[in-house]
Each structure stands twice: as C-alpha cells, then as structure tokens.
Symmetry: C2
Subunit: 415 residues, 2 copies
Amino acid sequence: MRGFAERAGGFRPSAVRDVFEVAMRPGIVSLAGGNPDLELLPLQELGEMASRIIAEEGLEVLQYGSGAGYEPLIELVTEFMRSEGSHPRVEEIQMTAGSQMGLDLVTKLFCDPGDVILAEGPTYTGALGVFEGYQVDVRQVPLDEDGLDPAAVETRIRELKEQGKRVKLLYTIPNFQNPTGVTLAQERRAELVRVCREQDVLVVEDNPYGQLSFSGERLPSLHSYDPEAVIYLGSFSKVFSPGVRVGWMVAPPRVRKFLQIAGEAVTICPSVLSQRLVLGFMGQGLWESHTRRTAALYRERCDAVLTACREHMPAGTRWTTPTGGFFTWLTLPEGGRYDDAAQALAPAIDNGVVFVPGTAFHDDPTMGRTPGTDPAGGAVDDAGTRPGARNLRLAFSSVAPDRLTEGVRRLAEVF
Amino acid sequence: MRGFAERAGGFRPSAVRDVFEVAMRPGIVSLAGGNPDLELLPLQELGEMASRIIAEEGLEVLQYGSGAGYEPLIELVTEFMRSEGSHPRVEEIQMTAGSQMGLDLVTKLFCDPGDVILAEGPTYTGALGVFEGYQVDVRQVPLDEDGLDPAAVETRIRELKEQGKRVKLLYTIPNFQNPTGVTLAQERRAELVRVCREQDVLVVEDNPYGQLSFSGERLPSLHSYDPEAVIYLGSFSKVFSPGVRVGWMVAPPRVRKFLQIAGEAVTICPSVLSQRLVLGFMGQGLWESHTRRTAALYRERCDAVLTACREHMPAGTRWTTPTGGFFTWLTLPEGGRYDDAAQALAPAIDNGVVFVPGTAFHDDPTMGRTPGTDPAGGAVDDAGTRPGARNLRLAFSSVAPDRLTEGVRRLAEVF
C-alpha cells in the first residue's frame, strides 16, 4: 500500500460483498440481503408530493442547507424520540446522510488508532468496516437471548483497562439486533448505561430497526436513561427509504457541535431535498400506517422462516425468535456436516440459496479463545474455533413467504 | 478535549461561519456566500420529472444502490469528462454525496498525521477544514494571475522533502479558483502534472466551477494530461443543485477501489434518488441550456462587481478578472485605512455589506514569512504580515447586479 495512509490497511472489501453479488442471480433465494421491502410504499403519492415540493420549495430544497440539518425535520425527530422516552432538544440533534455516517463521525471524533470499541459479538459488519478504517481495536462481548449482559460488559471493560487499553465506546444495536435479531431486555437497559457511564465509556446506540416491532411494543431507548452517556443513531432507511440517505444522531451539545463540524467536512450539509421528502412522508401520517403494514409483513416472513426451520433443519439446530426487525440467527449442531458455515456457502449457492456466514460478524482476535454464550439459547462450545463459525444470519425482510420456505428447505438439504 | 481523539483538535468552527449568519440579515448585501443562483432552474419540469421517476422507478431509486454509484449516471459522467479531454472508464469513477466527500475520502486514504498537502495560497476554506481533521500539515504555494507556477511547486516540494516531510498531495482548483477566481493557464497544465508525477505527489484536481466559463471555452482538465497522476473531483452543485448532494471522483482503478470501500463505510451508497434526478436533468438536455444561461448570469454579475470596484474602491486597490465562476479577489493598497481586512468586517457589516476576509483562506504557518506573488496582478509585500490580510473575497454568484453595485459602494465607504 505504498503512498497510502496507514489506516488504508483497514479498508478491506467486506466479507459479505461477494455474497450480495451472488444474491442477485436469477433463481437464487437470497436470505443474505438486509434490504427493506419497499412494495408497500405509496409511490404515486410520494411522486406527487416530490413534484409539489420541488415546484413550490425548489429554491430552498435544491440549495445548500444547514450543516446541522433541515430544521423542520429536526423538530419532527425530537417528537419521534419521545416515543422511546427521550426528550432531546433541537440543539442535541445532528442530521446525517444515513446512520452509517453517524457511526463514521462518532468514531472519527472519539477514536485514535489503538483505542478500543466494545461491540456485540456478533455485530453489524458495516460497523466493523468503519472501526477498521480508524485503526480501532474492536473487542466483542457475547450476546445471549436477552442481548448484552451488563455484568459481562463491566468485566470486559475492567480487564481491558487493566491491560492498559483506552476503552472509548460501546457500540450496541439494542432492538432486533443485526445479525441475531435479539433485543436487549428492558431490565438490563438502565444497568448497561449505568455501568458504561461509571466506566467512562460512551454508549453508541444504533437503532435502525426499533420501529419495526412485530407487536407494536416499543422499549425505552438507552438514550432515555442517560442522555449524557449515550449517542443515539437513528435512521429512516428501514421504515421509509434507504435510497434518500437520511439519518440522525442525538448527542450531548458539547459533543454535537463537534459532530456538526466533522459532518460539514464530509458533506457540507445533508441533502435538503432528501430531508424534505422524509418530512413529507413522516408528517403526512403516511409513515405510521406504512410502519404498521411493513412490520406486519416482516412478522409474517419471520414466521415463515422459523416454521420452515422447525420443519426442515437438522435436529439440534437452534435459532433466535425475533420480536421485530429483519433477521434470525441460526446455530448449527455439533457434529453436523459442516464445522464452519462459510464452508457450506458454495454448496448452498449450488443448491439455489444464499446466506451470510456467522464469521462475517466478528472481528475480535481475542474472541473465540474463550467460551461464549449463544443468542439462540444454548451454550456455545466454540473454544478454539473461529467465532461465529457455526452460525448463519438469515434475513427475511425482502423475500416473499413461499420463497423463504423454499430457501430454508434448500439450505436444510445442504446441512 | 478529554475523551476525544487527537484529530478532534482540528475540528474548529470555520472562520467564515459567523460571516454566513450575518449574511442572512435583512438589508445586508452579501458578497460572502458562494451559493449558485437557482432562479433559472425549471422547477415545474423538475418536479414533474421527480414525480415520474418516483412513481415508475421508486422500487429502485428509493432502495439501497451500488456503493460505486448509479451506473447510468456514471456512464454520463464518462461522457462529460470527455468535454475536458479525459477518457475515463466506468471503473475509474466513484460517485459521492458531493465533491466535498471526495476530498474527505482522498485525504483519509492517503494522509497520515503530519503528512503534507500542498495547496494554493489562498485556497477553499472547506478543504482546509478537511485537512485539519486528518492532522495534515498544510503548505500553501502562492498563486499569480495564471494560477500555480509549476516551478514554484517543484521548488516547494523539494524543500519540504529536504526537511524530511512526506508530501502526499497537491490540492488545486484550476478553473475560476475559490477564492481568487483565477484560472491555471493552459500552458502550465502539462508541466504542473509532470512535476508532481516526477516528485511522486498525487494531484487532486477540484473542479466545481469549470463548466461556468463566461466565454464557453473549456480548458483541458489536469486529469486529461495523465490519469495516473491525478484524482479528479467533480460536482453537480454549481450547475444544477447543491441540495441533492451529488458529485464524483475519477481515480486510477487501484485507488478507486479503496475509495469505494472508504466511501461505503461513510454512506453505504450515494443517494440513488438524487443521482437519478441528476441524470434526468443532465440527460434531458436541460443541463446544457441551463449552464449557458447561468454562466451568462454570472458573467453579468461579475461585470457589475468589477465596474463598481473601478468606480468606488480607493486608488491602488487591485482585483482579479475572472473568466468564469463565482468570485473575485481584492487586494487593498498599502497605507490604507486597514492593514487587515478582517478588522474592516465589523464596520462593513454596520454599513450593510459583508465579505470574507482573505486570512480565512490560509492555514500555512510558514507562509507570510516569505514574500509572495499576487493573483490580482501586483507584487505582494506582505513579509511578516498574516497571509491574506490585505485581501477580500467577493462572491457575485447569488446577488442581482444592482445590489452588487450597491454592496461594493458600501464596502468602498469603509475602506
């Protein structure tokens, strides 16, 4: 990498990139993607709304806007945050070109090379990509079926500090986690925030799926317990559209002003037109009915996958039971045909189905040497094996139920 | 900055931020902004186009897209590059959420803390903000009325290398430069690229204004002379809309693939809807007529400012004569009322006019100790003074001619 910065060594193609290319092949059932289904969007109405906005407000929405974001949308975000028990002020909110950008900015602002970010094990691959780009030392804490265990987080922070590490952030997806689909139990939330604050570790709460609860129930955000201790990342990608690239961050004002400066250095301002379209969609009440309908759609698809797993997967296979979101997480039984799900990927593709192997969601060189717990509800006996080796992420968000059933059947044939 | 990364020390509010807030006050003539004028955009037609696109292609344009960018727009960009003598292939192009993001990515990919970026003195403040955020050591080479002098660039690179510095990039805005309005003479272009290639310094060619030539004449891009030695940053913000946030980069394939990985870590993909709207605008031929009409508008405004300067500014004041773009650059005479234009800002605002002081465009601690040249056509005798102290940037892009005349008159009263 002659001539490049040292950090460029962390710019590696995502392990899941090839999988997504395969997923586009005709005839393949893709359990790999994590795309929202847009079939239920009222495209005609959205188009008419966009037309009015551009014709009537074009001089504003096609121009540069505020680096902090489009103020009417920021106000709507403050209202939205109240539904999870938070009460941020306008000056605590920073709009972004998607919550991925929020993750980039917070890492950029807080982490020097070698600093530690604690994350869930397994976690979102796109977060690992950001952290690697800033030469962060990622350490992962295993999940169980109720999410992160605050005591385990505290122990890990203490151990790392004893090793002389600077632990800067805890990155967590508390609701319908990517990739496991598990949700952090309500009774653990206050304690997790308290532990991190006490240890001077800022919590980064990434919540793209929280609105997609199958029951409609919404848990209080981590942010609601202590707004000084938590930076919240929000997204309109899963409930409206990823193609407009609009997300937001909530942070204490002393942090937010630096996030704005850092954000302006990257994009000057978030797209004003995109923000205005989101406001139109959210504000017209289209949003709530759309979210209810898509959550019902995802619930039906989740049921289809879990039913098919019960019918077709080999005995001893376990999986999580998501209460919202896009994903379930399979754990293969010991002594099956494959020790490493990644080895089953090529045969699965040959059999017309694709998934993401569990190893893609891990990047902690020290993990796997210690036994972990298992979000799918059993003990994991993976001491000495690659973390996530016996796991698969199955995404059900963008495939019709009968195709999901067929996909699981094809997958079961391989195992 | 306890808890923050070291680089956060570079996240300083822009020196021009306050100026832009003042510029919004009623009654003030703002010669500060650098916004394009959108009055000539066919908003009704654009709205109808957006409506059709969302209704007919919503499932694609509202979804996640390729990390490299929307392919039909990439193909149009390759055509566009030909108008400046470049012939990039599709795989050399990376779409971005505005060319500012391109600048962020190239700095992130190439520069470790302490590495040197050479820039023009003066240069775009937003570039300085990016470089500071990556703890880059910025060194600026003075401009004259024909832009950068290749021999001066070569000498500076050699000096810096002798001091043990790693000089990674030369950042330049060759056409209608921000803030001076000067254009790199055609006869210097090949030589500038040759010198940088020989010295193993990558050229970053930022060209947001190049299409806004008053005469319609377009010079060949630096990229056209040696595509291996130049990374080109393009923008749709000045000829179409900054509010959609769409730009592009052209880079050799070995570099571009890392730019894509780095870009995906920041925004996953550029907004598909925004890219589709740009394609619609460019493709329908709306673009060429719009560019011709806006260039004529800016030419008229430039004439108004220069005429008013001749009529009203104190004897000995000099200014550049732009052949395109948004800006002219004033140099105050020695022995006038103010040694530093920044000191005149408050009185100017009191008198109903605002501008950006020249010091905002400098960030090289070693500059100003050596005499420089002057893009406004005289020798600069500023040894020992802050670089840019006797300069003002006047933007004429978004103010009507009669208001420009009045603004310059008010400014002249202050000096």
